[in-house]
């Protein structure tokens, strides 16, 4: 600036290490996200996050920000994006209710090991703890449901914390992380130059990717000795992108492979050694033969109670190999005779040279025999009903045929979720995205949208129940505004089907508050600018699914299905897997 008493310029005293144009915290936030390769943000603005949104305004050409209609939608959309692409999903919301609206989605991501980076605004640092407007203790609230969280009150910390957040979210066993940025930190100028270094390691957090050789050898020995080995393929295989290694392992060892709900599509359903799905509503053979096996191999799965049933009656004749990246999962539910801590892909690569070529066709045949029984008693009527209302199973069968098993099915929670898992013939990986551990109703609509953003060239079809749809239907607005061709199928039985089934089977048909008076979903969709169609006759089914698939824009197909359909087989709660019922 010019000295008023002369014509000379006075040098402004420069701060040590300040950059030529010091950056605000909010700018540093956006720049850090760009350095991490973020191309999409699912968000909803508000008072405490406005400075970041203002910074974002200048980067619209580099980051695709999608405005959702409810922050829960942002969380689920970020999950769908992360599940299909493998990259962390990013949410940006404001303080108070904006942040607390993320809680359900964050819990879901924690349970299903989905990488999420949630950035929440927070009141100015000076107001913390004063019950200020839209203040909430987000760090406290989300402590049990995040892998890591941090509150930023100093703008200088932003690049380092963002780098740490992305590293933690995507490494080891992935999970959600939350960064709470005070408004004061957002508007403050950094006192040092913005430099960004990706986080490559953290002293207190060292996930093991490469398994220990002695563990691998012990596992290989058990595998080679086994006469009736049985492989359980879980979500870890998809996360590790180990589909090729899995196929090689399965083919060399000759072992039958079943998938958990979240492991579906890791191996093609047409593979001769694929024997079906595990779990409470899995296949008959896959459950019944667990107690015939002499070795079970858990690969990237956590022996969840839906899979084990009564733990005392699970794998009673078998020794256990448990391969997982999270050491705290080993021996948590089931005792492991040969634990292998490591990434599924690295573990399979290490095992491959040590396992011997085997043929277990006779053992696999036992599965196929029981499959016949399941087909006669359950599957035939589910897939090829000759009369009566449309069944969920036949919808999935025809959808599967028309999409050649290559679509990404995003299922909500309930009977339709189970039918979609059972009957879609997955032939391409990352083909089934659902809320597994949490069973969050309302997951599918926003998650399908997020998945479409993450894989725009893939056909994404959401399968949603009439109850579930109403939990997050406002996200139709997001779909309309984004103009993405998300396909939605509502399987409408006018009931909260899964609960009704339990009330029928275990509560003497006391249908306590499960019947839904549903709105006209097609009119609602049209109100949101989305084309739709409702059908209830079998004859219309084929044509309607063609219309759905061929539509170049978003489309909602509502199918009225059999009202009191029950999903079988079923392992009732508390029963053992051998007690699986066909009716």
């Amino acid at each position: 600036m010019k000295d008023q008493r002369s014509d000379t310029l006075i040098e402004k005293e420069s701060l040590p290490q300040a950059s030529a144009s010091p950056m605000t915290g909010s700018e540093a936030t956006i720049k850090s996200l760009l350095e991490e390769g973020v191309d999409t943000i699912f968000g909803y603005p508000g008072g405490a996050i406005m400075p970041v949104y203002d910074a974002l305004y200048h980067y619209q050409d580099r980051i695709n920000h999608i405005l959702v209609r409810h922050e829960q939608g942002a969380a689920h959309a970020a999950q769908g994006y992360a599940r299909i692409s493998g990259k962390p999903g990013v949410c940006l919301v404001t303080s108070g209710p904006g942040a607390t609206n993320l809680v359900t989605g964050i819990t879901d991501a924690m349970m299903d090991s989905t990488p999420l980076v949630c950035i929440t605004g927070q009141v100015a640092a000076g107001l913390l703890g004063t019950d200020a407007f839209q203040e909430a203790d987000v760090i406290g609230i989300t402590a049990p449901i995040t892998k890591w969280s941090y509150q930023i009150t100093n703008a200088d910390e932003i690049p380092e914390i963002v780098a740490k957040a992305f590293y933690i979210a995507s490494s080891g066993r992935p999970g959600p992380v939350l960064i709470d940025i005070t408004k004061s930190a957002q508007v403050a100028l950094m006192t040092k130059e913005f430099t960004y270094t990706r986080c490559e390691k953290i002293i207190s957090y060292r996930p093991r990717l490469q398994p220990k050789q002695d563990q691998v050898e012990q596992a290989a020995a058990l595998i080679n000795q086994a006469r009736k080995p049985y492989l359980f393929v879980g979500h870890g295989v998809l996360i590790a992108k180990a589909e090729e290694e899995l196929k090689a392992f399965v083919e060399k060892t000759g072992i039958p492979a079943a998938c958990t709900l979240l492991g579906l599509s890791a191996i093609s359903v047409d593979h001769p050694q694929y024997v079906g799905m595990l779990g409470m509503h899995g296949n008959y053979s896959t459950n019944k033969l667990i107690n015939e096996a002499d070795l079970v191999i858990g690969l990237g799965m956590r022996f969840d109670d839906r899979v084990t049933g009564n733990v005392a009656g699970f794998a009673t004749k078998a020794r256990v190999v448990h391969i997982d990246i999270d050491p705290s999962e080993i021996n948590k539910i089931i005792h492991a005779d040969a634990p292998v801590v490591g990434d599924a892909r690295e573990a399979l690569k290490a095992l491959l040279p040590l396992v011997e070529k085997r043929d277990h066709s006779a053992w696999i045949d036992a599965f196929k025999q029981l499959d016949k029984e399941e087909f006669d008693k359950v599957v035939k009527d589910d897939l090829f009903p000759e009369s009566g209302q449309i069944k969920m199973g036949e919808v999935i069968r025809i959808l599967s045929e028309k999409t050649h098993g290559k679509a990404a099915i995003v299922a909500d929670v309930g009977q339709h979720q189970m039918e979609a898992a059972r009957y879609y013939r997955f032939s391409q990986t990352d083909g089934y995205i659902t809320s597994g551990g949490s069973g969050t109703m309302g997951f599918a609509l926003p998650a399908a949208f997020g998945a479409k953003v993450g894989a725009p060239d893939r056909e994404v079809v959401a399968i949603i129940g009439d109850g579930c749809f109403q939990m997050t239907l406002q996200e139709l607005g997001t779909i309309w505004q984004s103009e993405l061709p998300v396909k939605i199928i509502i399987l409408n039985n006018n009931y909260l089907g899964m609960v009704r089934q339990w009330q029928q089977l275990f509560f003497d048909r006391r249908y306590s508050f499960v019947e839904l008076k549903n709105p006209d979903f097609i009119t609602i969709a049209k109100g949101f600018g989305i084309e739709g169609k409702r059908i209830c006759d079998r004859e219309e089914l084929d044509g309607a699914l063609d219309t759905l698939i061929q539509s170049e824009k978003a489309f909602l197909l509502e199918i009225l299905v059999e009202k009191e359909l029950n999903v079988f087989p079923m392992v009732p709660s508390g029963a053992t897997v051998s007690d699986i019922r066909l009716e």
């Binding site: 402590a143 969280s149 705290s328």
Partner: protein, 176 residues
């Protein structure tokens, strides 16, 4: 049969960590018998000493594994009483009218001394294991205890290992 287990946790000195750690116990409905935290001989590294009761060693091992998952936790160890040298501190406040009697009782105990005395009250400090403190308490109780506080256990394992072995990274400056 319920036993005491001591869990020692080395962590970075981060805000909110106590909440995360205690959450692991709350989720499993485990009552924390005592908890002590302080900075270690290494700057920026804190040490938690948590005592719980459990009827099964396996349950404690599971908790230790869950705690190890927390990002800022550097190391976790679980111990039974036999592996440790442990103690805690207690203060007892009695009316000055009981001071004479109290001092007689005090004389019969090791590591018990008068901390504070005036015309109103006498405050005694006693160090020892939980049982020793409890038996001192029982002896003092008939005199009328006005107020009483325990510090919670601190403990060191009786083996030859130390922080340098637990946390071999040389990234911190030793600060004694």
């Amino acid at each position: 049969m319920e036993k005491l287990y001591t869990i020692c946790i080395f962590t970075e000195n981060t805000l909110g960590l106590l909440n995360r750690i205690s959450g692991i116990f709350t989720r499993r409905r485990i009552n924390i018998e005592s908890l002590s935290v302080s900075e270690t001989e290494r700057k920026g590294v804190s040490r938690f000493t948590i005592v719980i009761k459990s009827d099964e060693r396996e349950k404690v091992e599971k908790i230790v594994r869950q705690i190890r998952k927390i990002i800022e936790v550097l190391a976790v160890f679980g111990y039974e009483d036999k592996d440790l040298t442990y103690n805690e501190l207690a203060f007892f406040k009695v009316e000055s009218s009981s001071a004479l009697e109290a001092k007689k009782i005090l004389a019969g105990y090791q590591r018990a001394k008068v901390l504070f005395e005036d015309q109103r009250v006498l405050i005694i400090e006693k160090a020892g294991t939980e049982e020793e403190i409890y038996s001192f308490f029982k002896q003092l109780k008939p005199l009328g205890i006005l107020e009483f506080v325990r510090s919670g256990r601190i403990a060191l394992p009786s083996n030859e290992r130390g922080l340098a072995q637990y946390l071999p990274e040389a990234e911190w400056v030793d600060n004694i």
